[in-house]
Amino acid sequence: MADQNFIENDEPLLVAKSLSKSFGRIHACRDVSFSLYPGEVLAIVGESGSGKSTLLQMLSGQLAPSAGQVSYRMRDGVTRDLASLGEAERRFLFRTDWGFVHQDPAQGLRMAVSAGANVGERLMAVGWNHYGRIRDTASDWLTRVEIDTARIDDAPRTYSGGMRQRLQIARNLVTEPRLVFMDEPTGGLDVSVQARLLDLLRSLVAELNLAVVIVTHDLAVARLLSHRVMVMKGGRVIETGLTDQVLDDPREPYTQLLVSSILPP
């Protein structure tokens, strides 16, 4: 059972240690440390320019930190420093054990090839070569993300924004990753589409026991999806804790401002 793992597995999956990043004289991210456990969903919240996207880029090995390190426990149980991985190893990690859901689905999908190929491509990258099985698995995943399988041969550029985002999620989850990074996954969608996507994400994350680092400026998204939250401001983590605790009993002035700025439902 998924949640049993969460209780008993006491070794972190991802550890960030004193991560900092400067661009010239600008300190985008300063001294961030935390551990993420299997099945745990961590939300990073804060306004634009708070450093949350820079942090996500470093955590996912796409940006080298100016100081500090990120380590990850690989599927073989060995914990490795991301900086010590070769380019091929890093790419393999990205294709298998990690997922990355971009705010703009066009960044995470190939817009001109079919939906089926978008999902199947990740399977081929990890060595699947039986066309029938790839197509069956792809069509299975389209169903799981509530896309009509009659659309499997259509390219995502013919899809609506919400469908594209669900397809991007299917493409990421098909290899059964243990960790998924999400950058404002509901950002560009209108409200009704957002609710459906959040609900879908919430059940998939629980079912697959996924660890997730999700960057969002929307506290409602953080409340619905995450176990823990880190509030960032000016490149620093200013408050962290259990999501409902930070949102219902915020301690820092900036967090109180964020929470008080939400319109009542």
Binding site: I7, D199, L242, Q245, D248, R251, P253, L257
Partner: protein
């Protein structure tokens, strides 16, 4: 007897930074214990801090001083200083909370809203749904509503769904925040019965109840929250 909840000298103050840093003391010196099979009712006027104390025991509000000892899997854990992961584990297997209002989850059917706490702890979906159905029956939620999300239900129906969800699991501690507030007499009687059953199973409960008659029926002991008043 070993207490399930052992609160010693706990205190809570809100600092309102947006209002010029006003300090809003809520409670101080909160001290009481709850034993297995016992229902302690918190009493005191509105604003005395009853709900805040429940939220502190659930880890929803942080505790500024003192300790909140919770017996979790045979060991005492201080919730006031526990790590987030530990608080989540305690909520999953030790403390349940029946809030006043259902936090509606969009699109999830009523039967699954109620069954979820059992599924999370490893029960099969079919068994969990069967138990959820029994409870919904007892709380007079007609079967034709079970497949609908509770978001569109009346206030009383939502509260009964919430109660079913809170009472379904076998957690050793239950916190009840006005569980009968918007219920009719028949359903209030069902809640009284459910509380009595939990007591027989050895569950430790802390409740807030405004209705004198219900309080009389479920309370083994009353803790007067005004004695913890912080404003002085």
């Amino acid at each position: 007897m070993t207490a399930m909840i052992d609160i010693a000298d706990a205190g809570k103050t809100f600092t309102m930074h947006l209002q010029g840093g006003i300090e809003l003391p809520v409670v101080r010196g909160v001290t009481f214990q709850v034993n297995p099979g016992e229902c302690v009712v918190l009493s005191g006027p509105s604003g005395a801090g009853k709900s805040s104390i429940l939220k502190m025991i659930f880890g929803n509000y942080r505790c500024d001083s003192g300790r909140i000892g919770i017996r979790h899997r045979g060991k005492v854990v201080d919730l006031a200083t526990a790590e987030p992961r530990q608080v989540l584990n305690i909520r999953r297997s030790t403390i349940g909370y029946v809030s006043q209002f259902l936090r509606a989850v969009p699109r999830v059917a009523t039967i699954d809203v109620v069954a979820e706490p059992l599924i999370v702890n490893g029960m099969s979906r079919a068994d969990a749904q069967a138990r959820a159905g029994e409870l919904l029956h007892r709380l007079n939620i007609p079967e034709r509503l079970w497949q609908l999300p509770p978001a569109t239900f009346s206030g009383g129906e939502q509260q009964r769904v919430n109660i079913a969800r809170g009472f379904i699991s076998d957690l050793p501690i239950l916190l009840l925040d006005e569980p009968t507030a918007s219920l009719d007499a028949a359903n209030r009687a069902v809640v009284v019965e459910l509380v009595a059953e939990k007591k027989r199973q050895g569950v430790a409960m802390v409740a807030i109840v405004h209705d004198d008659e219900i309080r009389h029926l479920i309370a083994d002991r009353i803790v007067d929250v005004t004695s913890f008043a912080a404003a002085a």
